[in-house]
């Protein structure tokens, strides 16, 4: 295999014969995001909700294992127009990180340890809890007999980085269950 070093060495020999390879060597510093796949997303940190572009290795071909190589601000966003703060610009370290959580963790009642569980189990468990709590505390009619259909047993917290589409679905979900207590991270 020809390494870059070999190439430069060969270049030096060719240069000695009168061919100048300087432009070829000067182009060695290449743009690392030239052909990456770009994915638009929202920074998960504060309530400003800056848009970011995630650069992923490869072009989504079947045999490519994608990896995040770079993240920077999305210039098309009216919120940040490409800028990011010191925390947001380091987002790659948040994704490419040994300590990143990739599965749900469950701490059983009375247990001291968090145990990883599969997504299906976690979703089933949450659904079970929601159903049980709702069955237990749902209020169909108030003291004066008026229909209220409210659920005081559950509160809901939204995330500041949820997109409009997610928030739309979350609101539908909330009204469907009858949840009244509702708070958003941007006010915390």
């Amino acid at each position: 295999m020809i390494t870059r070093r070999d190439l430069i060495r060969a270049g030096a020999a060719v240069t000695a014969l009168g061919f100048d390879l300087t432009p070829a060597i000067a182009a060695a510093r290449e743009l690392k995001i030239a052909r990456t796949t770009q994915t638009n997303s929202v920074c998960p940190y504060c309530a400003v909700g800056c848009s970011v572009v995630i650069h992923t290795l490869g072009d989504k071909s079947r045999n490519v294992q994608p990896a995040v190589v770079h993240i920077e601000g999305d210039p098309d966003s009216p919120i940040n127009r490409g800028t990011l703060c010191s925390k947001g610009i380091s987002l790659k370290e948040f994704i490419v990180n040994d300590r990143r959580l990739t599965t749900p963790l469950h701490r059983a009642p009375g247990a001291a340890e968090w145990k990883p569980i599969p997504w299906d189990d976690a979703i089933n468990k949450i659904a079970r809890h929601i159903k049980d709590t709702r069955d237990r505390s749902f209020v169909e009619k108030d003291d004066q007999g008026r229909t209220v259909n409210r659920l005081p047993g559950i509160a809901m917290i939204g995330g500041c980085t949820d997109t409009n589409e997610i928030n739309y679905l979350l609101s539908k979900f909330r009204f469907g269950l009858g949840i009244l207590s509702y708070e958003n991270q941007s006010r915390l």
């Binding site: 870059r4 510093r29 690392k32 770079h70 993240i71 920077e72 010191s86 947001g88 380091s90």
Partner: protein
């Protein structure tokens, strides 16, 4: 080709350090432990793997506590001291757009550029024994993108563009500041080194040293002397010697050995 430049309006810097992190991220620098030196700075100075530092200069000016933020990085001089001092061909190049870039493949690690730099910017890596500094993201600029630090800056303290346009913006901003009552406001672009491609707007342009910028930056006279007259003299002596030997050979001929018989 138009010269590109970076404008730093120090009056708008809030010290968020987004540019520092953007620089580290884009250049894939390894994690470096910060050092605390009784200021809010990330590090006391630049490092071989830390090319862009916001200096938090705390001092009292006219009885008022002042925080003079200044971005500390390569100034991309028109008449660059590092290039003048560098003995390795191709290790330091000046692109047509004004960017002064190091090519570590050609660097021999002698460190002469560190001596030649009037702004004390290049840093030698203890592991690779090569010298590193800000490249003004020459890879990004080459394809029409702005440098990483400038893209990140949330307060538009940093801006990127052609040198002429930014010079215009800089003097306009200095004028605004003067009209606002900051009589000493002005533009700093290192006139002693033929102008730099990094331009500052300073609220106290009469005292750039308080921002960590040399008042009158010049390439050290030792470097100028060594790469100027001393070099010419050395070449004259060397080639003159060869020429004299050639003339002597033609006129007198080779030295004949005398044999004792």
């Amino acid at each position: 080709m138009q010269k590109v430049a970076k404008l730093i309006d120090t009056t708008l810097c809030i010290g968020c350090k987004a540019c520092e992190v953007a620089c580290q991220q884009w250049n894939d620098q390894e994690f470096t432990m910060g050092v605390f030196n009784n200021t809010y700075q990330t590090m006391p100075s630049l490092a071989h793997n830390f090319w862009n530092l916001i200096q938090f200069n705390e001092l009292e000016i006219n009885g008022a506590q002042s925080w003079l933020m200044a971005k500390y990085q390569c100034m991309h001089c028109a008449d660059a001291g590092c290039i003048k001092a560098c003995p390795a061909p191709g290790a330091i190049v000046q692109n047509a757009n004004g960017i002064v870039d190091f090519n570590q493949d050609n660097c021999i690690g002698c460190g002469y550029c560190i001596t030649g730099c009037p702004f004390d910017v290049p840093r030698l890596s203890p592991t690779t024994k090569k010298v590193y500094k800000c490249s003004l993201c020459s890879d990004r600029v080459a394809v029409g993108l702005e440098p990483s630090c400038i893209k990140a800056c949330p307060t538009s303290c940093l801006s990127f563009g052609t040198r002429d346009a930014l010079h215009h913006n800089a003097s306009k901003r200095a004028e605004e500041l003067r009209a606002d009552g900051h009589a000493q406001a002005g533009v700093y672009d290192g006139p002693g080194v033929g102008g730099t491609n990094v331009i500052y707007v300073l609220k106290h342009a009469d005292r750039p040293q308080d921002y960590g910028l040399p008042k009158d930056p010049h390439i050290p006279w030792t470097v100028s002397l060594w790469k100027g007259p001393v070099k010419w003299l050395g070449n004259a002596v060397f080639f003159g010697g060869l020429l004299t030997a050639l003339v002597h050979y033609i006129k007198v001929g080779p030295k004949e050995a005398h044999r004792d018989e």
